[in-house]
């Protein structure tokens, strides 16, 4: 059976409703196919979770709490409008162009500094994990003591 066929049977296999012969075929395939085995592990929780799940019933206290928070929210919305109306807008608008110019100049300086500090090489694209594995496998055969190459970070 192909992977596609196996996946079609996975739910039935997990629920134990497959014919013994078919179940054996699925099992044999799962022993050797990592992708289907992962799929199977992802699915194996579903029947268990569905069996345990029951919809939550909201209590009376929850509604009281929501109402209280709504009231507090509407009170909070009033305060900022009062505060903002007192802002010295004229002073602010007078200095706005100068402040913008200063910010642009500082940003340009920072950008120039960062650009100059860039290394001369270009960033690498693509995955080279197979080369990492090859390197680690080789380095490991040299007798270094660490075990971390055995769990390659993905």
């Amino acid at each position: 059976m192909t992977c596609t066929e196996i996946r079609r049977y996975l739910s039935d296999y997990l629920e134990g409703t497959l014919a013994p012969e078919q179940a054996q075929q699925v099992e044999r395939h799962l022993q050797t196919c990592i992708t289907c085995a992962q799929e199977c592990r992802a699915l194996e929780w579903v029947p268990l979770l569905l069996g345990q799940w029951s919809p939550p019933v909201p209590s009376e206290q929850i509604w009281a709490g929501i109402e209280a928070r709504l009231r507090a929210g509407s009170a909070w919305q009033v305060a900022p409008t009062e505060r903002t109306s007192r802002l010295p807008w004229r002073v602010f608008t007078r200095w706005l162009p100068a402040a913008t110019l200063a910010a642009v100049a500082v940003s340009a300086l920072i950008a120039l500094f960062v650009w100059r500090a860039q290394p001369t090489y270009l960033p690498l694209n693509g995955s080279y994990s197979s080369y990492w594995q090859a390197h680690r496998q080789w380095a490991r055969s040299g007798g270094t003591s660490e075990l971390y190459p055995y769990v390659e970070a993905q």
């Binding site: 290394p119 090489y121 270009l122 197979s130 660490e146 075990l147 971390y148 390659e152």
Partner: protein
Amino acid sequence: MQTMKARWLAWVMVWLVLSLSGCHRQTTLTHAPAIWKQAILSDANRTCQMEVQVQIPHSEQLPALLKVYRPHPDYTEIIEQGAESCLIGGREYRPATYLTESERIRWLPLERRCIVIPRLPGKSIEAYIQQLFERNVRLREVERAEWQGKQWTVVEAWVEGGYLRKRYWITTSSAPYVGRIQTYNPQGTLLCDEQRFRYQPLPISATPPAPPMPPSDWKIERPVQLGPFDPKLGFKLSRYQPPKGYERVEVLKRSCPCGGEHFAVGALYSNGLDSFTLFLLPAECPDAQRADRRLRLSEQPEGVVATIRLADGRALLLVGEIQPQYAAQMMSGE
């Protein structure tokens, strides 16, 4: 009088420069107990059985639990419990069970177990790396700590101009051994925390046990082929000088790690603590064709990967534990 003053001043300056440049530290390190080095160097050969927890904090990977059984220095059986995938020595996400040049691996996805039985390691390479370790590695005591109800001396090891710093937790007992290894990169990121539990020394068996034959249903996923080595290729690589402290440990013509049918030349460099590989990819390799005439380099927590395409269509690829600026210097030899 003036010349006398000048001479004194010169001496003071020399002393200051030497102290600040680390010579003082080196003096103290040469007196580091030989017992630490012995414990670290014999770590890979100790006959023992233990459980090991390997954590890679910078990744999202869950801790790996390994059972290690080593009845002889040349034979180790490692079983990874609860393995989500087996990425050892092969391509990622490929079905399942395969052999490689250096080890037999059996990956049982449904049982979440990964069994590794390495073959004999290259003894000459191992000895060479140990020599480099003896020569280059500096040690200093960082702290004394209590862990698992025992007293440990935490010893930091590094090589000047190298990449990794490793903290070895060594018992203060009469037969010291390493119980924990923490690996850091130059930015201070903890790359790996390897903790050993239930350590039990084993009596050395007279000969290494014969590895079990693989079951008939094992699939050989990616056998590593060795090609005839042409000395000219070694010469070609020798124009790329490694940074100070690193030396070329081995050069091989082998099947290309990209997984293609062609061969690639690979050279392993080490300074005793850090290692990297320089691959010379043939022009027909898709990764060589993808490479740029300008150096491209990516810094990863574990080290660097760098590529450059040569004028004749082949490409250089460097992978491993080396500081990016040294990798760039080395590969600009073209």
